[in-house]
């Protein structure tokens, strides 16, 4: 079972005095849903980009199953905040992009893309152009496109950040369904405290200046959802409210320190 390991990662961007991230260690195993939270400038996205292989750490090592991460690869598909879809392709062709890169024949490509679209609840939207889709639909296409690469790990960079509250909630359950069905390891960045609690099996709280990990929470709400409990019941649980308070405190403590 491969593990995505970020070991004592420091990130330093050219021309900036302070490092963006300092000595943060995170491990994501298969079936984990690790969420990074914290205010802007705490290095969440930098860490995710290190895992993606898009940013080279100044110090520390990033690896998957012992293999060092040196470049982006389809074993770690990324979903970005601004969907980053290809507007010259249809929704189906976007989803099939990774398959096309691998030379999968077109009939097979379309078949698999359609089943992925169905998985993200976009059946029938395959022929739609990207600009015809709403923000939420676009993110679903982005998610399906990432899943098409059959990744061992999904890296989500605030994929729901630009969505309205209702769409966001629906996307959260879609995400959980996909995660529970595939047991893929997820590393996600978010600003949303409730979102972190709903989705995560583990929450890492980061604080800015320089970005560092200040607290780690193990949470069980997403596993309860995966076990069949309704999302509304989970959110109504007093334990959920207590956890939200604790997490909020941790984020603001980190800020003050």
């Amino acid at each position: 079972m491969p593990q995505l390991v970020l070991d004592k990662i420091s990130v330093h961007y050219d021309g900036q005095a302070a490092p963006a991230v300092e000595r943060v260690s995170i491990a994501v195993a298969e079936g984990d849903f690790v969420v990074l939270v914290g205010r802007s400038g705490c290095g969440k996205t930098s860490l995710l980009n290190v895992a993606a292989g898009l940013v080279e750490p100044a110090r520390g090592s990033a690896s998957i199953g012992g293999r060092p991460i040196t470049a982006p690869g389809p074993d770690r598909a990324v979903v970005f905040q601004n969907d980053a879809l290809f507007p010259w392709l249809t929704a189906r062709e976007n989803v099939a992009f990774a398959l096309r890169l691998r030379g999968v024949p077109s009939g097979e490509r379309a078949r698999r893309a359609d089943s992925l679209l169905k998985l993200v609840k976009l059946d029938g939207a395959g022929d739609k152009r990207i600009w015809e889709l709403s923000g939420g639909m676009r993110q679903r296409v982005g998610l399906a496109r990432a899943l098409a690469a059959e990744p061992e790990f999904l890296l989500l960079d605030e994929p729901l950040g630009a969505l309205d509250a209702l769409t966001r909630e629906r996307m959260q359950t879609t995400l959980l369904d996909l995660w529970a069905a595939s047991r893929v390891g997820v590393l996600m960045v978010t600003h949303g405290i409730e979102e972190a609690l709903v989705l995560a099996t583990r929450i890492v709280v980061l604080a800015p200046g320089p970005g560092r990990a200040v607290r780690t929470f193990e949470t069980g709400f997403s596993r309860r959802y995966a076990a069949g409990e309704a999302i509304r019941t989970i959110k109504a649980d007093p334990a959920f409210a207590a956890a939200r308070g604790e997490l909020t405190d941790a984020i603001f403590e980190g800020e003050a320190a």
């Binding site: 993606a52 290809f86 992009f97 890169l101 990207i130 496109r145």
Partner: protein, 286 residues
């Protein structure tokens, strides 16, 4: 129209504008505006009318300004019988052929050059100064050199037009390539795209709207260069036709040729816009 629009301007000027005593009325919400297209049509008709009138009243000698009817008659005659050993259609085909041959050449060279400028520092270092050197030179200036090097044959004419088209194509391609969003590139890389796949499947399609804009500019530049290129021992072509007509003071053919060139340029522009809408319907929408 112009009178009522004055009234919308709350003016504090005293001397002339108050002397005009423009009635001050609130803009009527349902007032019918006149479309820019209608104004354009009226303008064109007015110019034609002025032209016809001045020719009719013989304000200027027909050698300088033949009447619209004379030009039209000449158009029919040249279309049927030809001028200097070729029919109008043959002249048009010769010119269009040169412009399109040059366009193909400019795309084959310009797009890869623009790509190199956009994606590689070395490419930019090599081609940027060369293009910047070439771009501002008027075609008439390098025409003699092209003749000295390549003779007076067809390749020289196409080459001159190509040079004029090269910079717009390459620079538009480069700016399109540089404008590709980093997130889009990262997404493709994380889906497993190699460098070559990145260029083919992400960078080129992303830059396509910009490349097509470059082609439009290049076609404009190409047409402007056409007459210069056809000065060189051509036996056919619209530029050649105008030149020979001018030497014999056949002004109606000169005017007719100018109008034909303008019409073709207009049609080409229209066609390219249609192609743009077909090929890059997402432009401006993503």
């Amino acid at each position: 129209m112009s009178v009522t629009s004055y009234s919308e301007r709350p003016t504090t000027r005293t001397d002339e504008s108050s002397a005009l005593s423009v009635p001050w009325s609130r803009p009527h919400p349902k007032r019918r505006g006149i479309s820019a297209r209608a104004v354009s049509a009226i303008t064109i008709l007015a110019v034609l009318a002025a032209w016809a009138l001045s020719a009719r009243l013989q304000l200027v000698s027909p050698v300088f300004l033949p009447s619209p009817i004379a030009v039209w008659t000449k158009f029919v005659v040249v279309a049927r019988d030809g001028f200097v050993d070729a029919t109008l259609a043959q002249h048009v085909v010769a010119s269009l052929g040169r412009v399109f041959a040059a366009l193909v050449a400019a795309v084959l060279v310009g797009v890869p050059v623009g790509l190199a400028i956009g994606i590689s520092t070395i490419g930019r270092g090599i081609f940027d100064p060369l293009l910047e050197f070439l771009r501002p030179i008027p075609p008439l200036a390098y025409l003699p050199l092209v003749i000295i090097w390549f003779g007076i044959g067809e390749p020289s004419k196409i080459l001159v037009i190509t040079i004029a088209m090269l910079a717009p194509v390459a620079l538009s391609t480069a700016s399109g390539v540089r404008g590709v969003s980093q997130e889009r590139i990262n997404a493709a890389r994380s889906l497993g795209a190699t460098r070559a796949q990145l260029v083919r499947h992400v960078i080129l399609p992303s830059a396509l709207p910009s490349i097509l804009t470059g082609l439009r500019i290049a076609l404009g530049a190409g047409w402007s260069t056409l007459v210069a290129a056809e000065l060189v021992a051509a036996t056919r072509g619209l530029g050649f036709m105008i030149q020979s007509a001018a030497q014999f003071l056949v002004t109606d053919v000169v005017v007719m040729g100018i109008l034909v060139i303008a019409t073709i340029a207009f049609v080409l522009e229209f066609v390219i816009r249609r192609i743009e809408r077909r090929l890059v319907p997402w432009a401006g929408r993503d």
